[in-house]
């Protein structure tokens, strides 16, 4: 119906080079893009606006500042991002070279290697949680069998618990980043390696002067993207440690839920607003890269 009405209008109005008139395809375009815009308005714009409105009181930020758990969560988040992600990406870079080797058994290994990414995270996180249960878990069982002594109280020690949460995160997302970096590695023309070989380059020199220059940008993009996603990694921490012991292993992603449970909605939103100076530059950078 709309298209007919518009084409009549086309006939009636003399052709102008510029104007607010829309062609038939453009009207269809607006119709087709409308569902997403509705979703965006109802479930992105409204919640964000509502969240910012809840976080409008300066008192919430004072309360956050005085809450030692918030400071601890902020530090934990930084450790997670700065140490955890860099270790993960370095391992992924290393393994991408390993999996790029053309051998039958490595092909098969890569099929199994992707499993942590292919299966949902909840059951595997709970599985690890049970493995490290101090009383009944298989890890302390083995330690007792081998040494005759009780193993550490894994998840009740904040430092070990946070390390394990980072390990859990690495276990889950390492295959994905290895795969991406492998795609980047495969795209490097083989003749560059052959030329380096002729020049007598060793393995390290080939990496340093051939592989790394072509993968540098990809590696940086991946690291930043991984940091953004890791900021939102709720499961690895919440289901492994529950934020405990004594709320010492929270990260910003789980802290919001903690405040929600304590019915401190304004604190919940304020803690997220406090993360924005970290998030928005990363988001801006990624958008510039991807919207070209």
């Amino acid at each position: 119906m709309t298209s007919i009405a518009i084409s009549h209008a086309d006939d009636a109005v003399p052709v102008k080079p510029r104007g607010p008139r829309l062609t038939t395809p453009q009207v269809w375009g607006l119709v087709l893009i409308a569902p997403y815009l509705l979703v965006f308005l109802a479930f992105v714009v409204y919640p964000i606006g509502y969240g910012l409105w809840l976080a409008r009181h300066p008192a919430s930020y004072v309360a956050l500042y005085n809450d030692p758990i918030f400071a601890r969560a902020a530090v934990n988040t930084l450790i997670f991002l700065v140490i955890g992600i860099n270790i993960k990406m370095l391992i992924a870079l290393f393994l991408s070279g390993f999996f790029a080797q053309s051998r039958g058994w490595i092909k098969w290994l890569s099929v199994l290697f992707i499993l942590p990414w292919a299966v949902p995270s909840i059951p595997t996180i709970l599985s690890v949680r049970f493995m490290f249960n101090p009383e009944w878990g298989v890890v302390n069982h083995l330690i007792f069998k081998l040494t005759g002594e009780d193993g550490p109280n894994w998840l009740n020690d904040p430092a070990i618990a946070l390390t394990m949460a980072i390990g859990m995160h690495i276990w889950k997302s390492l295959p994905f980043w290895t795969l991406i970096l492998m795609t980047g590695r495969m795209a490097i023309p083989q003749d560059q390696f052959e030329a380096a070989e002729v020049d007598g380059a060793n393995v390290w020199q080939k990496f340093r002067f051939v592989t790394w220059p072509s993968m540098r940008t990809l590696y940086l993009t991946c690291t930043l993207l991984s940091m953004i996603w890791t900021l939102g990694d709720f499961n690895s921490v919440y289901l492994l440690t529950g934020g405990g012991p004594a709320d010492l292993t929270h990260v910003l992603a789980t802290l919001g839920i903690r405040y929600l449970r304590l019915d401190q909605l304004d604190m919940s939103m304020a803690s997220i607003v406090c993360a924005l100076p970290l998030v928005l530059p990363l988001v801006y950078f990624m958008m510039k890269r991807l919207s070209r």
Binding site: W28, I33, P35, Y36, L115, P175, I180, G232
Partner: protein
Amino acid sequence: MKISEMRMPTLREVGVEARLLLIGIPVLIWTLIPIYHMFLFAISPKQDAFSGKLWPDHPTLHNFEIVFRQQHYFLRDFWAQFGNSVVIAVSVGVLTLLIATAAAFAISRLRVPGGRAVMNLALFTYFIPAAFLAVPMYRTMGSYGLLNNHWALILAMVTIASPYAIWVLKQASDKLPVELDEAAIMDGATTLQLFRLVYLPLMMPSLVAVGTYALLLAWNEYLYAFLLLSKDTEITLPVALGNFLAADDSPWELLMTTGFIYALPPAAVYYTFKRYMVGGLTAGAVKS
């Protein structure tokens, strides 16, 4: 067999192979331990599960029987929860496909005014960590009166899945030659015919990838599911798994069995559509 394959490997080749194995074996162990641990619990009788053996003395499928027959307090709504997970994942997959395909076609092929701005808004949403939006989303669903309704989770997951879906589809459709559209229009095709007869068939591989992505995202989601749904008969499987932790004496072997059952469908879907996932998604995920 060629002669070159029959000769003895040189010392250097053996050394390279050994070094590769030295990397490969730890990687394999690291990857499989949590999954194998889960599997071991699932096939072990209750008394064997905690013995620390690598393989149970009496492997059994009894745990699966208990789960399927809902013969435990924690499992009394297993089938309802399994059904909820299926219905929600499929709905999210279908809705995301519809919304994202329409939007990508409008932005990329019809060059709708403001299309670029919409793409940027969508990308912005994609990069905001979903956990940060969870609390406001929870309150928003409350004010729309949708809490404890499957629609709350479906709409939230469509919101989270759409931006990336639109971006992947837009990238793929930008690669289709403009001449195709021009030729179809010359032949008198309307916009809808162009969409249905030219665009959709050419986009099939990306559509499969995006549909699978949204489906798996919804099936695997824990945080939003646990915030937005709470009645035992309405929750999805991951929330039910999390609820096992509420009690100290929860039956681990049954939790691991349920977890194993829950992990199988997405793994099967992933490996079935792997070539689409790798080609259509990961290559586009990070453009260097």
